[in-house]
């Protein structure tokens, strides 16, 4: 533990929180000359339970929907003061605050071309309020608003392709990352901050409470999501696919069986087939597959 870390211990995240890992990696990659605008969500609640704060950088929370708009104002003010070249501005939020409630503010920020990095911590539901379905919830997940029953197999809708939506704005840099690949995540943040203009990074962060896996499996679950092809790690530059992490694909059952949120699917081969199809489509679309190395 450094004597004066940018993200301090003593925050009230659950044991094994993936978001806490990713948030610390992002702010450490960005450095101390950073201003953070945070939307409502788990991250805001567990880091800044008044009167304590875990952040050692200037940090502001306004509303659920407008972290991108608040960051736009901060960036405009810095530009007027002539300090923008030495200061990074980061807007961050969860998947609900980005894909559902904050989408129009995010789109406006991308369209106006502000020099801001938007980081979305994607834990695939509204975890803070009790696991409700969001736009980034994957197909088949058991949430409190898409419960499993005799007529329901969990969330009936596919995950919203938010990285593609952002890339379609033609912004200089869009990437997806995972809390399990530390160096990859930090490299993407540093690369994004070296580029002028709006940037978007979506980080896959496991939530032991909502995904219902053991707290020491956070990294394994995040790795399996990448290795099965369900969460492709890709980069877009100016709307064109420029990088991807290639994998030796594993069957999706390996990812599903460690999490109780997908428990109901294991007895149902038809549903697993549908999820395998989603993974196969991702693998084909981004060219993720690499042949296994020959056994020596």
């Amino acid at each position: 533990m450094k004597t004066n870390p940018l993200f301090k211990p003593g925050h009230t995240a659950c044991a094994g929180c993936g978001q806490a890992i990713a948030a610390r990696l992002v702010i450490e990659a960005a450095g101390p000359n950073t201003i953070v605008a945070n939307s409502t969500g788990c991250l805001e609640v567990f880091t800044t339970a008044y009167p304590e704060t875990a952040w050692n950088v200037p940090w502001i929370h306004s509303l659920f929907e407008n972290s991108a708009a608040v960051a736009s104002g901060i960036e405009a003010a810095l530009k007027y003061q002539g300090k923008k070249d030495t200061t990074n501005v980061i807007a961050q939020g969860g998947d609900g605050g980005t894909a559902d409630i904050g989408l129009q503010a995010l789109s406006g920020m991308l369209e106006r071309g502000h020099d801001i990095l938007y980081v979305c911590y994607d834990n695939e539901s509204y975890m803070n309020t009790g696991i409700q379905r969001s736009g980034l919830t994957p197909f088949g997940m058991n949430t409190t608003t898409t419960p499993v029953g005799s007529l329901s197999m969990g969330n009936p809708n596919p995950k919203k392709p938010l990285p593609e939506i952002c890339a379609a704005h033609g912004i200089p840099y869009v990437a997806t990352a995972s809390a399990a690949y530390f160096q990859d995540l930090q490299r993407k943040v540093k690369k994004a901050l070296s580029i002028k203009g709006p940037k978007y990074i979506q980080v896959h962060v496991p939530c032991p409470l909502g995904w219902r896996h053991e707290s020491n499996l956070t990294l394994d679950v995040a790795r399996l999501a990448v290795d099965t092809g369900l969460y492709p790690l890709v980069e877009y530059e100016s709307g064109v696919l420029s990088g991807r992490r290639q994998i030796v694909p594993k069957p999706v059952e390996e990812y599903l069986k460690v999490q109780a949120r997908f428990k109901h699917l294991l007895k149902n081969p038809d549903e697993i087939k549908k999820i395998q199809e989603i993974a196969d489509n991702n693998i084909k679309k981004y060219g993720l597959k690499v042949e296994a190395a020959p056994q020596a």
Partner: protein
């Protein structure tokens, strides 16, 4: 009966989340450590310290006992032991 109604904003290091540990805590053996820093990078609490081989440890004032450092250690140099309630 009531605490002060207005409190001074402060750093979160006043919250001793170590009290959350219930069953087990990580124990750093400090024998085969290669200083790869994986435990330091993975800790969600950011309460693991150390920079050279066999110097790593965790601050039990904040450690919530999630067990990620035990899982990520490539040398199995960290193990989960039963929680005793002592702070060192």
């Amino acid at each position: 009966m009531f605490g002060p109604l207005i409190v001074k904003p402060q750093k979160s290091q006043g919250v001793k989340t170590g009290a959350w540990r219930v069953q087990s805590r990580p124990h750093f053996l400090q024998k085969n450590c290669i200083a790869c820093k994986m435990c330091l990078l993975v800790c969600p609490e950011h309460c693991i310290y150390g920079d050279e081989k066999n110097t790593y440890g965790t601050d039990y004032n904040y450690c919530k006992g999630c067990g990620l450092c035990v899982k990520v250690c490539p040398k199995q140099d960290i193990e989960m032991v039963e929680e005793t309630g002592e702070n060192n």
